[in-house]
Amino acid sequence: MVANPATTTAKRPNPWWAALAMMINPGAVLQNAVARIPWPFSLSISALAFMLFFMQTALDLLRNGLKDSGFVVLLSVEGLLFGSLGIGLLAMIAWVITRLFKGDKPVGWAVSAFGMGYCSTLIFTVLGMFFSLVLHWNTSVAFGVTGVLWATGPMIASIKQMSRDNIALSVIVATVCSGLLLFGWVLLGNA
């Protein structure tokens, strides 16, 4: 008996809708959609979000006469690398720790879930770019840091799923990851 592919193959989720839903209901997205979203797409969200965040940090410094325009380019590239390689690495650290405590998710899932969590950061930083370029506001803290903090919620939800609902472990791992993220930004973002 041959199975009908239409009934056996699950419908591929729209990655953009999944990324937006991640802000309101991360648990449902993580359970139903993340496994079927390619990790390069997810990492491109975090890469773009951090690139805009770092760019705004540099623009604030440029506006205040502390840095030149070359610094804006340099910091934007750093943001791109931090949002892709850095977030990928952070996801792997969380994956390794949860794996030691009987976590069952594959590493690709972890990377994809972490990247998707930065959709809210992307929205905040896009808005921040508007206010920075059009109204000449200093936006790196108000929009950039806020956006990154808002991504902590989805990150916790991801770690919770990775650790099979072990709340204590997910809180500890999320705290470690948040600390690494904060100091990573301070080290690179203020270079």
């Binding site: 648990g27 903090l149 709340i167 809180v171 999320a174 705290t175 100091f183």
Partner: protein, 180 residues
């Protein structure tokens, strides 16, 4: 088993209130106040009262939008869900503390807003688990309440900053009066 869940709920709630107290301390220091015991106690008090009140509102609304669960679940289902949600403030409290005391940032309000939103999302997810088919309201309503609480925090922490200095002035006045 049930007792175990209850004790975890109490521990989670305690951790949550410690986080609220920490947010209060960090915020009190960041408004140009001197570091003294009065400010620490004052910040802690503001954080705890705010935390208690905002979690009470969340509890009332969660019960209100889930009348069916009142019949099918044991008493205190909303409080248990909130307790689980509150423990997710730990990463925010930790980073807020690091940002304030190591990096000397003056942006504690951002951490509080994000932390309350994380509590709301986590609480919504916990309530959703009690249904066979999750209801979107349980995600939307806590998020709206979290936004309102964040705004209230921003307003409150700035407005009541003058209270410690007022208390000190009153104390000095009273002690001078007593000496006379």
């Amino acid at each position: 088993m049930n007792e175990n869940r209850k004790s975890h709920s109490g521990l989670n709630r305690f951790i949550g209130y410690v986080c609220f107290a920490l947010f209060g301390i960090v915020s009190a220091f960041q408004q140009g106040q001197e570091s003294n015991l009065l400010n620490v106690l004052y910040g802690m008090l503001v954080g705890l009262v705010f935390g208690w009140f905002s979690m009470l509102i969340l509890n009332v609304f969660l019960k209100w939008i889930n009348p069916g669960l009142k019949k099918t679940q044991k008493k205190g289902f909303a409080r248990r869900a909130i307790s689980t949600g509150m423990v997710f403030m730990v990463p925010f409290a930790f980073t807020a503390f690091m940002a304030a005391y190591i990096l000397h940032w003056k942006s504690a309000g951002l951490f509080v807003s994000a932390a309350i939103s994380a509590v709301a999302v986590a609480t919504g997810a916990e309530i959703s688990k009690l249904y066979e088919k999750p209801r979107l309201w349980n995600n939307i309503v806590p998020s709206i309440l979290a936004s309102a609480c964040s705004m209230a925090w921003m307003y409150l922490i700035v407005q009541v900053q003058s209270i410690p200095s007022t208390i000190i002035s009153l104390y000095i006045m009273v002690t001078k009066f007593m000496k006379l």
